[in-house]
Homo-oligomer: 161 residues x 2
């Protein structure tokens, strides 16, 4: 028989009416540890991390296009003009569609598209500061929470006085 042990890993486990069903770790000494993360509804098969990665993917394409266009500006004015013109008529909201369309525009545009693919990969893996992103997001949530509560307190104390 297996023994089952629940280990709360979050200090906010009192918020948990439902167990988080995403991650189960089975140790080889036959103990099942349940990961007590908060249940996030509405993501179906995907996860919030996959959803966020999807958004970042489009963001990296947007950044790669800006990087490549700025590079072209200084040493290939013709290609810079072509890419700028293409940008005026094609949305960057769906990064992959933008690249697919760019590839099919002309052989010269195809070369630009291939460079954008290469740059977005290099940017994601080498240049983007992932640790900084986590640090900034954590600081942001603290700062904004404090500001929201302070504004409310100031507003209501003003009303009372």
């Amino acid at each position: 028989m297996e023994s089952s042990t629940l280990i709360p890993v979050s200090p906010f486990s009192f918020f948990l009416p439902k167990p988080h069903n995403r991650t189960w770790i089975r140790r080889n000494y036959s103990t099942t540890i349940q990961c007590n993360k908060m249940y996030v509804p509405g993501f179906g098969e995907a996860s919030p991390e996959a959803k966020a990665a999807n958004h970042l993917h489009d963001f990296f394409t947007y950044i790669a296009v800006r990087i490549v266009n700025a590079q072209l500006e200084s040493y290939n004015r013709e290609a810079h003009a072509e890419l700028t013109e293409f940008l005026d008529t094609h949305s960057l909201k769906d990064g992959d569609k933008f690249c697919a369309d760019l590839m099919r525009e002309s052989p010269r545009h195809k070369t630009l598209a291939l460079r954008i693919l290469e740059v977005r990969s290099a940017y994601c893996k080498n240049d983007f500061e992932w640790d900084n992103l986590k640090r900034l997001a954590s600081k942001m949530v603290d700062d904004h929470n404090t500001r929201l509560m302070r504004d409310y307190v100031l507003e209501t104390s003003h009303e009372e006085s």
Copy 2:
């Protein structure tokens, strides 16, 4: 006189017409090392990481609202109904504005808003899998780049044949 040494840290440094002006490291033996990240134009004082953190901040608020509403559904139907009704009439696009408005709706709504602030902080710091985000985004860029190139090759080889 100082001697200046440029050390390329990215394998894509040949893409670099302009030096990246964000990070300069000055060593105490009087050598200046320039960080050769690709120059990203158009972010002014902010950074791509700050922009991404800003988007994630709203995403965490959206998730916190879903978490809290799912929790309420199972043990406080009245509060669940109130939050659902509020969601129908207020956009979650700007998370901080949503929370500020919720706080000012009624004392009961204020309690819900405070819980949402607490949950978004806990989610960002404890539950969100940052390493997984990086892994998924890196895999996504590889997979999508391969798919875009494969689709193009298949399409053009079909035309040729």
